[in-house]
């Protein structure tokens, strides 16, 4: 089972299938469906995983098993030399001492002696293959077992409108959302708006935990992550208070909302700049992010633009609307996936394996062996890589013995 050839054949088959699918416009999605759902695809995919695993097992067994040293096995090494009878080395004991002088520690295996360096050089390959196997297996599991749900939740502002969500049958209540936004933001027309530290303290069915925009948080068997942020702007009109989820980040982005008081007219909300400043030759707009000012423009109409700051009252289509202090809303992604720990482990091991593989440039096995043959000592030498230079080295070492 364990063979790079099998991996090559499976790889070629996969390439063939992918090429067939590339006749369509988007080959990746159907290719993933083929691998994860169809029987031939699953056989190929599992074939790769099993082969990678078996390859590692075979490598360990090969490297750490005791092998019989015979004249034939020594003769098959990269280079071997049958020492003359009048050589300084006439017995295996002499050969063992010579091995030690060359920096090799010999051990007796059957009729001969053998010394190895770099036996653990297979470790990077094992780590990489294990990581890839885990990643592939967990990707397959995840494809079939993952359940994802999203919900928008918002913290209360001055008018205390809290929007709760329901995920996997649990009520999700935001306790505090910290967006880590600066008071002011200077927009220079380039993509520079970014939120580094966003955290949302949540209460899910009584259990409290913090979810961030970074790595997912595990709680109650579910993985949580913040995947979007905006202002939750409370607006009071006609005696009712609603919280508008304004998707106005980054500044310039328009968020459309139907203000019912204005006969169903849809308004586009944008953050309005406080002032313009110059930096070098570029003009930039400064936005107040703590007490934002919005520009409302009626969709499909020219003119009629309204500017209003949070905390102010404005008249829209003849009706008075009170804009309260805004809070934040976040969109939460909740995932129930038993393969998540495997995915993380697989990713970590794959990354580690790739880094460790660099060590293979100088971390490889070198073997020296000797056995008695026709009353003389037969010595052999092999290197896992760079065998040409290994052969030259061995010839140089053995030249005085001939």
């Amino acid at each position: 089972m364990a063979s790079p050839w099998i991996t090559l054949v499976i790889g070629l088959l996969m390439t063939f299938v992918y090429l067939v699918m590339s006749f369509g416009d988007t080959p990746y999605e159907p290719f993933v469906e083929f691998l994860f759902i169809s029987v031939p695809g699953l056989l190929l995919f599992m074939g790769v995983i099993l082969n990678l695993t078996a390859w590692s097992v075979y490598a360990v067994m090969d490297r750490f098993s005791t092998r019989r040293i015979s004249p034939e096995s020594v003769g098959e090494m990269d280079e071997s030399v049958l020492l003359p009878q009048d050589s300084a080395i006439r017995t295996l004991k002499d050969a063992g001492e010579w091995f030690e002088r060359m920096g090799f520690s010999p051990r007796i295996y059957g009729e001969g002696i053998e010394a190895r360096h770099g036996r653990y050089g297979i470790l990077p390959g094992i780590v990489l293959r294990t990581g890839l196997s885990l990643l592939m297996l967990s990707a397959l599991m995840s494809h079939h077992m993952r359940q994802s749900q999203e919900a928008v939740v918002a913290e209360g502002g001055a008018v205390n409108v809290i929007v709760t969500g329901e995920l996997f049958g649990m009520t999700v209540e935001p306790l505090k959302i910290d967006a880590g936004l600066p008071q002011e933001y200077l927009d220079l027309g380039k993509v520079s708006f970014g939120i580094d530290k966003i955290s949302a303290r949540m209460s899910v069915d009584g259990e409290e935990f913090t979810v961030s925009g970074g790595y997912p948080t595990s709680a109650g068997g579910i993985y949580w992550r913040v995947i979007h942020l905006g202002y939750a702007q409370p607006v009071e009109y006609g005696g009712a208070v609603v919280s508008l989820m304004l998707d106005v980040f980054p500044p310039g982005n328009a968020s459309a909302h139907n203000l019912k008081m204005s006969g169903g007219q849809v308004y586009e909300f944008r953050l309005a700049p406080e002032r313009a400043i110059r930096k070098g030759l570029i003009t930039g707009d400064v936005f107040d992010l703590s007490t934002p000012r919005y520009e409302l423009s009626p969709r499909g109409k020219k003119g009629g633009r309204i500017k209003v700051r949070a905390g102010e009252t404005v008249v829209i289509d003849g009706s008075k609307a009170v804009f309260g202090s805004p809070g934040y809303y976040v969109r939460l992604l909740a995932v129930r996936d038993p393969a998540m720990p495997l995915l993380s482990a697989g990713f970590f091991l794959t990354a580690l394996g790739i880094l460790l593989m660099i060590a293979r440039l100088f971390w490889y096995e070198r073997r020296m062996a000797a056995v008695m043959h026709e009353g003389r000592v037969l010595m052999g030498y092999s290197e896992e890589f760079y065998s040409k230079w290994g052969i030259y080295k061995f010839r140089k070492w053995t030249a005085p013995l001939l």
Binding site: L135, S142, G194, D196, K279, G280, L281, L343, R395
Partner: protein, 460 residues
């Protein structure tokens, strides 16, 4: 007639030369009739697929034909790698006859797609030209091509191709040549290496996105995501370029490694020094012979990859805009930062030409990433193209760099205005309100000084 004769002759010669390369190798020469039979089969099938309505009606579109041709070319190229892996040594004694089925397939693949494209071309040509002349030209082109083959066949063994090619390196070389000569430019528009790079770019982007989605760290427009830097790096074009280079160079490089990793023969037991030297010399000569076609493939592929890279990242060189002395500011040229011609904040290179008497002075201006302006002559202190190559003087823009058109050195845009090296020669200027103000005295003085420089650039 010429419009069909010349392209068909060109394609025939290309295919025939590749065929001769294959047929001339000892592993195929004794069975060359099978190879030629495959060729005939490919030729006839390609033509029939176009001219027999029952086939042509079901035939896929030209884009699909191009993909199939790419697969065929890749098959030949990578079969060399496969052969290399299957055969553990490179000894001549190892050279055996190629299986008949393989020869038949090779002959077929060499001609099938070319014949199909040529037939499509001829079919189109008959719509606008006399059928008789078009067909006569095409048949003549094919006959001349094959006449060349007929002349060569008997002499092929004398070429001694086995001295240079192992079967693996032969397939790699033929594959590499097909990458360049494959297809008919008159019918198809595309390049296998460019398609490979674009395909890999698509694949890498999707795999990275898939892994991010699995790990729940899908990138967001403004919320910073873990490992997004790594994901961006992997998604960059340079990654797909690196993968393309690795994939394409793998067969010739591995074949070269195989050639050069053989140690010199053991000569310690040989008594006569001359014999020892002869044995080592023979071995090294063989190594050089074997490496020659691989080096050629390597070079051809390098050039092709470079062409692909250049087509993906083209040099952008704007036409110089004529400028004159300003009426409002006598003795100066005034260039608005924003006018009907464009806005400097787009970061694009702009060139201007000013006539000082009979002297043409070309200078460039660009807005740097920090919002300041760089202004300089369109020449440097070093490079001096020959008289016949004056179009290589000056700079063009490639992405975030200016590139000297002569020595192709990239110049970081933030360093424009800094003298030295291959940087453009800076010219003093001022920014007044929203205009660049350039004193004519300064421009002429710097230009004259630049012409007096003893430029050393002699390479081209």
């Amino acid at each position: 007639m010429l419009s069909s004769f010349l392209p068909i002759l060109r394609e025939s010669i290309e295919c025939v030369l590749l065929l001769a390369l294959l047929a001339g190798h000892p592993s195929a020469y004794d069975r060359r009739r099978i190879l030629f039979a495959g060729t005939a089969l490919g030729l006839v099938s390609g033509v029939l697929l176009v001219y027999v309505p029952a086939f042509s009606a079901k035939s896929p579109g030209i884009q699909h034909w191009i993909i199939l041709r790419y697969i065929s070319e890749a098959l030949i190229f990578y079969s060399g790698l496969l052969l290399l892996m299957l055969r553990t040594t490179m000894s001549r004694a190892e050279q055996r006859h190629a299986p008949a089925a393989v020869l038949l397939l090779l002959g077929f693949l060499l001609f099938f797609f070319e014949a199909h494209s040529a037939a499509l071309y001829i079919q189109d040509l008959t719509l606008v030209e006399s059928r008789g002349w078009v067909y006569s030209g095409a048949v003549l082109g094919i006959l001349l091509g094959f006449a060349l083959l007929a002349l060569m066949v008997g002499k092929l063994p004398a070429l001694g191709l086995q001295r240079f090619f192992t079967p693996a390196s032969l397939l790699i070389a033929v594959g590499a040549l097909q990458f360049i000569t494959g297809g008919m430019g008159e019918v198809e528009d595309g390049d296998i290496l460019l398609s490979l790079q674009q395909g890999l770019q698509y694949l890498v982007e999707h795999i990275v996105g898939h892994v991010q989605s699995l790990l729940m760290i899908t990138q967001h427009g403004f919320i910073s995501t873990p490992l997004s830097g790594l994901a961006d790096y992997l998604r960059e074009e340079r990654m797909s370029t690196a993968l393309t280079v690795a994939l394409v160079m793998l067969p010739p490089v591995l074949a070269m490694v195989k050639v050069f990793s053989r140690p010199d023969p053991e000569v310690r037991g040989m008594e006569v020094a001359a014999e020892r030297r002869l044995k080592v010399a023979f071995f090294r000569r063989e190594m050089i012979s074997f490496s020659a076609p691989l080096l050629m493939s390597f070079m051809l592929l390098t050039i092709s990859l470079h062409a692909v890279n250049a087509s993906v990242n083209p040099l952008r060189e704007p036409e110089p805009i004529p400028v004159m002395e300003s009426d409002e500011s006598p003795g100066a040229i005034v260039i608005p930062l924003k006018d009907r011609i464009g806005d400097f904040t787009d970061g694009q290179l702009r060139k201007y030409i000013f006539y000082s008497g009979n002297t043409r002075i070309i200078f460039l201006a660009i807005m740097k990433p920090d919002g300041t302006v760089g202004l300089a002559l369109d020449e440097c202190e070093i490079c001096k193209p020959a008289e016949w190559n004056t179009s290589a003087l000056g700079y063009a823009q490639r992405g975030e760099h200016l590139v000297c058109k002569y020595c192709m050195s990239p110049v970081a845009i933030p360093t424009v205005n800094e003298p030295g090296g291959c940087n453009p020669i800076p010219v003093p200027f001022e920014i007044e309100e929203d205009d660049i103000v350039l004193r004519l005295d300064d421009l002429v003085r710097v230009h004259e000084a630049a012409q007096k420089l003893e430029k050393k650039g002699t390479h081209f």
